[in-house]
């Protein structure tokens, strides 16, 4: 199945794109998505971020479905 990744702030800079489709295994959960992302973009290890699945930030692990939207959100400090 495929999930739709959306990147923000520093995460988008590290990835070099603001969104992309990623082929993932069918029963993948949010934690495993993080691992995949950090494997693909090693610099993500240095950034704190949260994952929002279908526009909702979950405090627990979530199992993903085909075509889910995963937003990768770093904190912004500027003002």
């Amino acid at each position: 199945m495929k999930v739709n990744l959306k990147y923000f702030g520093m995460v988008a800079e590290v990835a070099g794109v603001t969104e992309e489709l990623m082929e993932v295994s069918n029963d993948i959960n949010s934690e495993a998505i993080s691992e995949l992302l950090e494997e693909k973009y090693s610099k993500l290890n240095e950034i704190d971020y949260r994952l929002a699945i279908n526009e909702c930030l979950n405090n627990e692990k979530v199992t993903l479905n085909d075509q889910d939207i995963v937003a990768v959100l770093p904190p912004f400090s500027g003002g």
């Binding site: 912004f76 400090s77 500027g78």
Partner: protein, 375 residues
């Protein structure tokens, strides 16, 4: 709190709205809002809240207006360069609306003053530019039960939300961990398009009015993301994280330690203290982590100049015969340098110069003024 004739005329476009009316405008007049940070976000927030007739507005900022601020901090102008931002903002805003009580606090918000300051206000606006303040504001607002209207920016992107409102989430529910110090830069380091804080700050002002007036749907529990390059906005739902909230509520007082628990502890020295110790004959080694071109160079603080990027390859040149003082323009980069040197290189006995060269210069100006007054 009744409005006088002149106020009724001034706020007539508000009063015409069914959602506001005279009663709403009176609510605004009664309200007390504390704006922390009179920078990129703080300027538009302050301008719109003053114009809207929020009765009392506190302005917290220890910093001074710099030329490089004027590209985005449109409340200020060239004549105000060098002035404290809280005082300069008050002066400018008074011209906009004489019916608003403006209270400047030219201080740094910290663990000793946050709670007593928050007690005096109904709502807190987080318009700061660093994580330490953001966690401090979140914790202090939770402990004093005040809502926060939050805004943050990065290059061309912004985040806006309302925290701690009607049982909604706090900043720690969104980002429980204090970010790794060096991972997320601020505007002074990476740049920011000037219009962005104008947009984000204006959204914040709008949320403040909605919370005060109890109209519409606020961004409580929702993080609004704005991208000015793609003109896209999205909203992400945030849930309360009871565990994180409990951790904060469990402490009776605020302490640096908790907010910085994921950080190495970094000791700081104030300009006054450093000067005193130098005058007493103590020797220090100095590490200037600013870029080579950054001015001014201070003779009394001369030592090795190693910009933060070069620290990793050249740290063997740093002298450590005496206590090492790490400094930069404002004290932020020098903290990162200390974090790196302590964690990766095992350095001890390093102090961060609080407020950096800016604080040094400000202190010297104050000293001169004192001397002129005396003579």
């Amino acid at each position: 709190m009744n409005l006088n004739k002149q106020e009724i005329n001034r706020y007539s476009r508000h009063i015409q709205l069914d959602e506001i009316g005279t009663a709403g405008q009176e609510k605004l007049k009664q309200a007390k809002v504390l704006v922390i940070g009179a920078g990129g976000l703080g300027c538009p927030v302050l301008q719109y809240l003053t114009a809207a007739g929020v009765g009392s507005i506190g302005i917290v900022d220890f910093d001074v207006v710099e030329e490089s601020n004027l590209q985005r901090q449109v409340l200020f102008n060239s004549n105000l360069i060098g002035r404290n931002k809280a005082h300069a903002a008050k002066e400018q805003l008074e011209k906009l609306n004489p019916f608003v009580k403006l209270i400047p606090y030219p201080i740094k918000l910290d663990y000793s003053n946050a709670l007593s300051l928050f007690e005096q206000y109904n709502l807190i606006v987080d318009a700061t530019d660093n994580f330490e303040s953001r966690y401090l504001i979140s914790d202090a607002a939770l402990l004093s039960n005040k809502p926060i209207v939050f805004g943050a920016i990065h290059k061309f992107e912004g985040q806006v939300t309302v925290f701690n409102h009607n049982g909604g989430p706090t900043y720690r529910c969104l980002f429980p961990k204090h970010p790794k110090a060096a991972s997320i830069p601020n505007c002074n380091e990476v740049g920011v398009v000037g219009v962005l804080p104008g947009i984000v700050g204006t959204y914040q002002a709008n949320e403040v009015l909605k919370v005060l007036l109890r109209i519409g749907e606020t961004l409580s529990g929702k993080l609004m993301l704005i991208n000015t390059l793609s003109n896209s906005t999205s909203t992400i739902g945030i849930n309360r994280n009871e565990q994180e909230i409990e951790k904060v509520l469990a402490q009776k007082n605020l302490s640096d330690q908790y907010a910085l628990s994921s950080e190495t502890s970094i000791e700081e020295i104030s300009v006054a203290e450093l000067k005193k110790r130098i005058n007493q004959g103590e020797y220090f080694d100095f590490l200037d982590v600013r870029e080579v071109h950054e001015q001014p160079k201070i003779e009394k603080l001369s030592g090795i100049n190693l910009p933060i990027q070069k620290l990793k390859v050249n740290n063997n040149k740093i002298l450590t015969n005496n206590t090492l003082i790490s400094y930069c323009q404002t004290g932020i980069r020098s903290k990162k340098a200390i974090k790196y040197l302590q964690e990766e290189k095992g350095f001890t006995n390093i102090l961060n110069l609080q407020g950096g060269i800016q604080a040094w210069l400000q202190y010297e100006t104050q000293e001169e003024q004192m001397i002129t007054k005396i003579s």
